[in-house]
């Protein structure tokens, strides 16, 4: 049986902050290529820590975190940093952008740290600038906004810029940490639809973390982190 390599694969993962009780205890979790998962996580459920583990910033005490088949524990810290930017894009809750750079420069940031993403962007669009522009207009940002300072944009526009940044150079994984929490209901849907479309176009999987259950139906799968995490279940019991 040859199933494609999962984008994310967690196995028997256990993580605890120093001198604290086990925070994460996940038996198994998979994110398949081009799949979108809604991960419901109330605050304090360890979702930020989980994102840190997926980003390779922290390492689990036991178990494995595999991204595209690569065991992150097997890489050095700087190799993990490189691996993160080569293969994943992050969108945070808000204030995603460096306020003092232009919109375009913000989108281009991953290319400054990842040769691989630069190459892929150039392969597809001839230049990283063209790639950024294509993504930005795909996400509905007018060309005249691109040279403006990032902090002159509305929050909704900023989140779209963050999405473009996460997607430039076609990483296989986009991790979004409550990117819509600062948006109103209408722009939430619009943002998500654009994000889905661009992820699909780029062939990227999407891990979407939020506590807003009303969005869950838009995703391929929906998982509750507190169900997945045996540590919280043990606590509740």
């Amino acid at each position: 049986m040859t199933s494609p390599t999962p984008i994310i694969e967690l196995r028997a993962l256990r993580f605890a902050w120093p001198k604290q009780a086990t925070l994460l205890d996940i038996d198994a979790f998979r994110l398949e290529p081009e799949q979108s998962i809604f991960l419901k996580g109330p605050s304090g459920s360890g979702k930020t820590t989980l994102l840190g583990l997926l980003g390779g910033v922290h390492l689990p005490q036991s178990g494995t975190v595999r991204l595209l088949g690569q065991d992150l524990s097997a890489l050095s810290a700087s190799a993990r940093d490189r691996f993160r930017v080569d293969h994943s894009g992050f969108i945070f809750q808000q204030f995603n952008l460096l306020p003092f750079l232009s919109v375009l420069d913000n989108v281009l940031l991953p290319c400054q740290f990842s040769k691989r993403r630069t190459e892929r962007a150039i392969q597809r669009h001839d230049s990283i600038q063209a790639a950024a522009q294509a993504l930005l207009s795909g996400l509905g940002l007018a060309p005249e906004l691109q040279q403006q300072r990032a902090d002159t944009l509305s929050i909704g526009q900023q989140q779209r810029v963050a999405a473009a940044r996460a997607l430039i150079g076609q990483p296989k994984l986009v991790i979004a940490d409550e990117p819509t929490s600062a948006l109103d209901a209408d722009s939430r849907e619009v943002f998500l639809k654009l994000l889905f479309a661009e992820c699909k176009a780029a062939g990227a999987s999407l891990l979407f973390v939020s506590h807003d259950q009303s969005l869950a139906h838009l995703f391929d799968r929906s998982i509750d982190l507190s169900q997945l995490n045996r540590a919280t279940r043990a606590q509740e019991a």
Binding site: G55, S78, D81, R84, V85, L98, F100, L109, P110, F113
Partner: protein, 422 residues
């Protein structure tokens, strides 16, 4: 260079603090360099004030005092020496040349030196440079009412050849008794030397004698006892006493012997000094102040750099988000650290550049006044090797200071990871 660009943009975003920091560093740099320049120039012009003179002889007092009034025209002689003493030593077998000096009068605050035409022949400064005429000629010993001006006197008072000058009795710019009955005529102007010669008016000893010929008990004569300039010319203008003399010897080896002989001479209590030794003695007095000034300016630079350190450290907390964003797009912790080092480097570098600009602006503004008031010539020259080294040291110190916030940010970004803390 991407990282550098991000560092610059980030700084530009905090431009008010950044500019203040740069300005503080710039001021400290300008101060440091200015002190260094003044120091160097003072020392150089000081050491080269007089050369080729083997002994300076005056009334017995202290060597520094004698040096001050005879060479620097600062302060006054405690006593005069007799003309006969001068003649005695001028004819000494070891003495090659002797130049008399008579001080005590002034013109607009500039000292008047009564001397002989030999002064122009034998007085040397710097690397054995002789006095040169910029205009006109030296005075003649036979013409008592001729005056030769130092360059600064001529420039400051805007005098040219043919100018009639009235000398004043004593040393002050105002309220002096003028020798207005016996005016002098300018016959020559010396080239600039960067020494006290520039601030001196030179007249013949006979002229010095002539303007005081009718004076009694330190006051001018009135009425019938008044002697006119024309009458004075026909009188005996041989001086009775002078203030000091410069001696050149036949052989350097004889210097100490002649010095001892003068100091132990029974004819009159005299003091002979070696200019080089006295100059060093005097410099060691002022050198302490000069070193203290340098140390103070070093501390000012340190203060400027600590200001920079404070500014960067204070900004760290509010920039945690910036760091986390950079981490999420692939920046490694050392990228974050070098971002802060680059920031410190940029601030220090900009501070140094602005400091240099301030220094040259300062020199441009102060060059004239410094020269005319203090005789200190600050050249408009490129920084010396030593100055470059000072600047490099400051830059290095700035970068080292940047290592402190860099280390903190490194630790912070390791701990925070992708966690955006607000």
């Amino acid at each position: 260079m991407h990282l550098f660009r991000i560092a610059l943009r980030s700084l530009a975003n905090r431009r008010f603090t950044a500019l203040l920091t740069i300005f503080a560093i710039a001021l400290s740099i300008a101060l440091l360099l200015a002190v260094e320049r003044v120091r160097t120039e003072t020392r150089a012009s000081f050491a080269s004030t007089i050369s080729a003179t083997d002994l300076i002889v005056g009334a017995r007092s202290g060597s520094v005092n004698l040096l001050l009034y005879s060479v620097f025209r600062i302060g006054n002689a405690t006593n005069n020496i007799r003309w006969s003493s001068f003649e005695h030593f001028a004819q000494h077998p070891q003495v090659k040349w002797a130049v008399p000096m008579s001080l005590g009068d002034s013109h607009h605050g500039y000292r008047v030196l009564g001397t002989s035409a030999d002064y122009f022949k034998h007085y040397q400064y710097g690397r054995k440079q002789q006095l040169k005429m910029r205009d006109g000629r030296f005075f003649s010993d036979q013409a008592p009412f001729e005056v030769v001006l130092g360059a600064e006197v001529a420039d400051a008072l805007n005098y040219s050849i043919g100018q009639e000058i009235v000398l004043a009795h004593g040393m002050a710019t105002i309220s002096l008794v003028n020798h207005d009955d016996k005016p002098f005529t300018t016959v020559g102007i010396l080239e600039r030397t960067g020494t006290p010669v520039d601030r001196t008016l030179h007249i013949a000893l006979a002229g010095m004698e002539a303007i005081h010929i009718d004076w009694q008990h330190g006051a001018p004569a009135y009425g019938k006892r008044n002697i006119s300039a024309g009458q004075a010319l026909h009188m005996d203008l041989q001086p009775k006493q002078i203030t000091a003399m410069l001696l050149g010897l036949n052989s350097k080896i004889a210097t100490f012997a002649v010095q001892r002989e003068i100091n132990q001479w029974r004819g009159e209590p005299l003091l002979a000094i070696l200019p080089g030794v006295a100059l060093q003695e005097l410099w060691s007095l002022m050198g302490t102040a000069e070193k203290a000034l340098f140390v103070v300016s070093l501390f000012v630079v340190l203060t400027g750099l600590i200001g920079m350190l404070t500014a960067i450290l204070t900004s760290l907390n509010e920039r945690r988000r910036e760091m986390a964003i950079l981490r999420s797009v692939g920046a490694r912790p050392w990228h974050i650290a070098s971002l802060l080092i680059l920031e410190a480097f940029s601030l220090a570098f900009a501070g140094i550049l602005l400091g240099l600009a301030l220094l040259y602006l300062g020199i441009a503004v102060a060059q004239g006044p410094l020269q005319s008031h203090y005789g200190l010539y600050l050249p408009f020259s490129a920084p010396s090797l030593y100055e470059w080294m000072l600047l490099a040291a400051v830059l290095l110190a700035g970068v080292l200071m940047g290592a402190v916030p860099a280390w903190r940010a490194y630790r912070q970004s390791l701990a925070d990871g992708l966690n955006i803390r607000l």
